[in-house]
């Protein structure tokens, strides 16, 4: 069983690649993906406050090992797939979403699959907005896409002090390059202000998964996040 899976997976992936699977360059539309997600929402939650239901919540699914989310009881088949090295990436998720049982034969997920490649691409684009591991999200754009959020509109409406933002931004620039180059660490230049604020609050509240960002955002108050957003906005003009 296990062996069969191991041999099957690369073959499935090869077939997908040959067929022009989801590549970094043809990532779908997250907004359209939010609509596709309604098919999943009966069993899965994603976003702020998401918890395990019939299926596990899907925050941070990119880059995680199959069956690896603690506290959820997976099928044996899913657990052994993870132990054999199945990690959820754009490619593996695409294969799984097309025909779940072709990737994890005895998964309890009773879902026929999404036949249309664009539906899968859109859904993946949507799910990626709730995952933020640079290694698994090669291009920077998805991390810059806004997420579902329940932020107080007053927080979004805060006018930040760009001078303070410039000072605070110097901390970002130890890792993120101001010219927008991204290798290993995503670009944060030219973000929409609201997306920036939403993302920073998502790190602060530990919804977005990255220890450095959670730590750094964790000590920024609402005004400081607004100041950073204001500064990055001045860069755009």
């Amino acid at each position: 069983m296990t062996r069969k899976l191991v041999t099957f997976l690369p073959a499935a992936l090869f077939a997908l690649c040959a067929a022009g699977a989801v590549g970094a360059e043809d990532i779908g539309d997250a907004e359209a993906g939010a609509k596709v997600f309604k098919k999943c929402a009966a069993c899965h939650q994603v976003g702020i406050g998401a918890v395990d239901k019939v299926g596990p919540h899907l925050n941070g699914v990119f880059g995680s090992a199959a069956g690896g989310h603690e506290g959820y009881r997976y099928s044996k088949s899913m657990v052994s797939a993870g132990e054999d090295g199945l990690v959820w990436t754009a490619e593996t998720l695409d294969a799984f979403l097309e025909k779940p049982k072709s990737v994890v034969p005895k998964t309890r997920m009773s879902f026929r699959g999404l036949k249309k490649p664009e539906d899968r691409a859109n859904l993946l684009a949507y799910l990626r907005t709730f995952s933020d591991n640079p290694a698994d999200i090669p291009e920077a754009e998805p991390t810059a896409v806004g997420t579902d959020h329940d932020l107080d509109p007053a927080i979004l409406a805060l006018e930040g002090d760009p001078d303070y933002g410039e000072y605070l931004a110097s901390e970002c620039l130890t890792c993120h390059q101001s010219d927008g180059t991204s290798d290993g660490i995503p670009s944060i230049t030219l973000w929409e202000t609201e997306d920036f604020v939403v993302a920073m609050h998502a790190y602060k509240r530990k919804i977005r998964p990255h220890p450095v960002m959670q730590m750094l955002a964790g000590r920024l108050n609402d005004e400081e996040i607004a100041a950073l957003a204001a500064y990055f906005k001045t860069l755009e003009e």
Binding site: G68, V87, P134, Y164, T174, I185, V212, L216, G218
Partner: protein, 421 residues
Amino acid sequence: MSINRRMFLGTSAAAAAVLAAPMVKADGHGKPRVVVVGGGAGGATAARYIAKDSKGEIDVTLIEPSRMYYTCFFSNLYLGGFKEIEDIGHSYGTLASGGVNVVHDWAIGVDRDAKTVALAGGGSVAYDKLILSPGIDFVEGAVEGWDLSAQNAMPHAYKAGSQSELLKAQLMAMPEGGTFAMVAPPNPYRCPPGPYERVSMVAHFLKNNNPTAKIIVADPKPKFSKMALFQEGWADNYDGMVDWIGSDFGGDKVSVDPNAMTVTIDGEVTKVDVCNVIPAMKAGRIAELAGVTDGNWAPVNAIDMSTKADPDVYVLGDASQQGDMPKSGYSANSQAKVCANAVRGALTGSKVFPAKFSNTCWSLIDTNNGVKVGATYEATDEKIAKVDGFISATGESAELRKATYEESEGWYTGITSDMFG
């Protein structure tokens, strides 16, 4: 929150006090002058930020003897074969284009009354604010049998560049099945995970080129940074190659003989082929010459990195004694930004914001096997105090370790761009 507010008020009051005092620049000369000594992660960053943000209002001079700066961070990756020496070398050309007056000379003395820095090449440079970021020097007599005259036979390779190249050459020339010894330093020292990342990188090189060779580490400490992560990594990747002897097992009772190439640990003499001696450290000598040190290091005020000895002299990075931050390039870069903001505020009246510090140290254990530790810090009346932190876990997935390594490469590009422009 309340701490932030209090600190904010505190700095505003300090800035107001500076404004109320006669402006320093009104003193016969033109623009206010900042002199920075040492062009590493602290000094280069401070010089660049003050020049950039003051938009020509402040004259910034950087005194740095080397024309090429080799970063200590990632120099272990050079030993392991993951980087070339050119990959970790940086020139000062972009800083000069960015408005910093770069002087390649040694600072050999500071007259704090006259406010001048004397240069080895003759003459002196006047300052209104002096920022010292000289890194480390070694404590004399720290390892019995070793002094600087022995650094060719037994390199420290703890200032990157020619010493790194020497240690690499010795590593490559090791006989089959030979022994690589390291004498690790006592706390506090530059880059807490550094010696252990180096052990990992040496082991990586030996595994591929000289698999029967051995590594022994004599350590004056009972434990070290990221210990569980490194020991797991050594067991998983270099089984049986690394023998770490901590102070509980006599690792603190060590002497070396650079002529005989022997290391004596707790009375037991071992003939070795390479011996990397990393002695106890102290602030770079210019800090001592400036009279701002107390013991081995220069005590500073957490709020702006000014020294306890002189409000117009600041010390950044490894040389400073500031509290909870580790001595790292990332820390020095973080401290430099706080200092640059405060110095600019004091000289031109620009807004001074509350000090925020952070640090992350990435280490490479084996190919695509990176780990990290980090923390955030704030300024209190007593010291730079830790707020929050994290560390990689043992047993992490290969994917996460690979992502961490790739992140460290991104960080390297980021911080060197931030330092040099």
